[in-house]
Amino acid sequence: MDYDALLNMGTELGYQLMYSGAEIYRVEESVRRLLTAYGLQPQVFAIPNCLIVSVNTPAGHPITQMRRIPAHGTDIELLERCNGLCRRLCREVPPLEEAKAQVDALGKERHLYSNWVFLLGYVGASAFFCAFFGGDALDSIYAGICGLAVGLWLLYAGPYFNLNSFVTTLFGAAIASLAALGLVGLTPGQNLDAVTIGTLMLLVPGRALTNAMWEIMAGDIISGVNRTAEALLTAAAIALGVVVALAIGQ
């Protein structure tokens, strides 16, 4: 059997899982099960931006691969596809070439929504969150416009300027509260707090918070602390962005 190809396949599956935002436990367990199904005894280690897989061939020759995971968002569709494929491969154990082609296809054909659907998501989420925090219909429309601005920033400007997530969130929060200030200034008497909070909900570290407790529950303390720090830093970035806008507004 071609052990190099087998190791590449396992690492690629782990990489795609990490990239889709899966928790560390799932990544390590999936790669371990997949390679075990093909008759190896792999050692897998992952932290949020690094994946190391090591196996010993039956001849006793150790081979190791390390992949660095770039900054990524959440892609639940890819996560479900990886999970389903891993289950199927472990159950059926098809020939290596066939399995490798299927794993390689995971990253090539991403079923991402087109950008306008993402923007619709941002607009809808901020508008409904505004209503949720006590805004009326006009407030929700304003929040939708602010959400559009933040969505455009997150989708286009952040990747274009190649910013890290802290700076992206900081500017996103500043844009959200400045846009809210400007729009509410147009028609006095609107609910500034609801518009601003509704838009800020797009940036809150819900994902980092959920992931953090998930890692801690699974016993991956290093990753758990890492994600907790990520959540706190994101919250701090939001706070800084809001402070800038509020100071200008005063």
Binding site: E23, E80, H111, G121, L200, T210, M217, A235, L246
Partner: protein
């Protein structure tokens, strides 16, 4: 009518906002409605707990636990990873308003209010995490134990 105002509309908004957030997280198909239902359910539990005179932190704990149980069951039913549903459904409870109000007090120079809002926000985030963690740990223990018992005593 009062109940409608107090319970139905906030839960509806939470449902719709969670569905919209499902689009942002690239969730396809029926899973997106499950996320929405989780968000609405969580907010309903939160409001109901507050009605029974629970503080915000206890209410967030109970609501997070309810969402976790719901998400675990849905993940078992649909044979999908639980994290996606949980991440989206917990969002309405994440204290974004706390961060904003704390910073407003900070800019206005109201130190006491700033600190109390800040600690309330941190407490709420922690109780969300702990509530969801404990509930899903319990569900996992129960769901993996039950089939084994059936096997032992057929």
């Amino acid at each position: 009518m009062e109940l409608l105002q107090e319970f139905f509309f906030p839960c509806l908004w939470a449902f719709l906002a969670s569905v919209a957030f499902g689009l942002v997280y690239n969730i396809h198909g029926g899973g997106i409605l499950i996320c929405g239902l989780g968000g609405g359910l969580g907010w309903f539990v939160y409001l109901a707990a507050q009605r029974w005179n629970a503080g915000t932190i206890l209410a967030a704990f109970v609501a997070a636990a309810a969402i976790a149980v719901f998400s675990e069951c849905m993940a078992r039913l649909r044979r999908c990873p639980v994290t996606g549903y949980l991440q989206v459904a917990l969002l309405p409870l994440v204290p974004g308003s706390g961060i904003y109000y704390a910073m407003r007090h900070c800019v206005a120079g109201e130190t006491q209010l700033f600190l109390s809002t800040l600690f309330n926000t941190l407490g709420m985030a922690a109780s969300l995490a702990v509530g969801a963690m404990l509930a899903s740990a319990v569900v996992r223990i129960l769901l993996t134990r039950l089939p084994q018992k059936h096997r032992e005593h057929p």
